[in-house]
Symmetry: C2
């Protein structure tokens, strides 16, 4: 079973105070990039893997989705998500993405925000998802960028010219990384960028676009604290379609 | 016009002494990965962008290619390449990849080893190449990895735990980088990995596979000096097909 970090009180309390938790999609600076890739949602069945507080599920319904299935492992997250809507076309289901089951040929869009870098059985999940999608369906997701998940001790270092640099090591060594983010002992699964791409292709997806997110000039002017994102990306965004 | 670094005496002399210059394809540790992606060459017309000493051109003919066009900007490289074969089905052409012309719908394989990270007009080159390829053709190439081309001062740094790390900065800032490699003042064009992928897709290619090259266990046992390649990749390998 995947680590259920979001149900640890310390982690959850810190997570709930992040801008992306309090303000939803607009609190996530990479959201405009993901949104640009989404198809017309009118009458589509949508699945959101790692739905958290359900911000995307509710947004998808506002855009005309016929139904939305939000999946998450965390009781805390789902309780909050359920408290935020009375919409009967949104279903929140508690499930472990390590062993998810989904109906076949059902969804017109699969979406996932910053959840899949926790998953060990990603090849299996991509396969299940591929079979759950309709022809022409899209799979749009974000993960922590492999440059961000690779290092044993993620952080900034000064290079020989006293320039702040992001220290990358063990990039080719895929597997678990234990880091302290919001709480100690958070386990992520490091994969190379090429591995995400090759797994998708092997699962029957075609790559439509990638983005290694960095702020636009406007975003940077409004939020100067995003400047380090130009030095190295935190987020990898992927748009795939059924091949 | 592209910088013609290979015709500067200091650079050329140092380059000619690299294992990949003296030993050819087998002196390049990433070659087995690229080779695995190549189609059956029997009766194909092949183009090699940045052919250097022509190692790949000669290899392709040994594998049955009908003809090979090797393109390079460097007189030095082409003189050496021409001295190494009398094969009339190999044509070496001096041309700047910044303004290449190629016949349309002609080639069954385009190949390029460590040349395209020098090219500013890469979108134009991908377009020309796409039109020069037959349906079902492959485009297989390597470039210096974006993690390698990004930093202002590429090099290793010690992180807070005294671990050797590769310092990444200005990853999102695409454009020229001037570094000292074999000779001072070598100009490369940094692009994000996502940009290579998106440019290919926009030019009418489909991504078949990516590899961020690192040595296999066997390679590492035979050449322990390759160990840093597991910490961060030097080479990005791409296999694309006509979409």
């Amino acid at each position: 079973m995947a680590q259920n970090i979001y149900d640890r009180a310390e982690f959850f309390e810190n997570y709930a105070r992040l801008p992306r938790s309090e303000r939803g999609l607009l609190g996530a600076p990479e959201w405009p990039s993901l949104q640009r890739w989404l198809p017309d949602l009118q009458d589509l069945d949508v699945v959101d893997l790692g739905c958290g507080f359900g911000w995307f599920c509710r947004w998808a319904r506002e855009r005309g989705a016929a139904s939305v299935l939000g999946v998450d492992l965390s009781e805390n997250m789902l309780a909050r998500a359920r408290s935020l809507t009375t919409d009967g076309a949104i279903t929140y289901r508690r499930a472990d993405l390590e062993r998810l089951t989904l109906p076949e040929r059902r969804f017109g869009l699969a979406y996932s925000s910053l959840a899949l870098h926790y998953i060990e059985a990603l090849p299996e999940l991509f396969g299940i998802l591929r079979r759950a999608l309709l022809p022409e369906a899209r799979f749009v997701f974000s993960v922590e960028h492999p440059m961000y998940t690779a290092p044993a001790h993620p952080g900034w270092v000064l290079d020989a010219h006293q320039r702040e640099s992001w220290g990358v090591n063990q990039y080719a060594v895929e597997g678990p990384r234990t880091t302290d983010w919001l709480a100690p002992g958070v386990i992520k699964q490091h994969r190379r960028l090429a591995t995400y791409v090759n797994l998708l292709i092997a699962s029957g997806f075609q790559i439509a676009a990638l983005e290694e997110w960095s702020p636009s000039d406007e975003q940077l002017a409004a939020a100067p604290q995003l400047a380090p994102e130009r030095e190295r990306p935190t987020f990898l965004l992927v748009s795939a379609r059924v091949a």
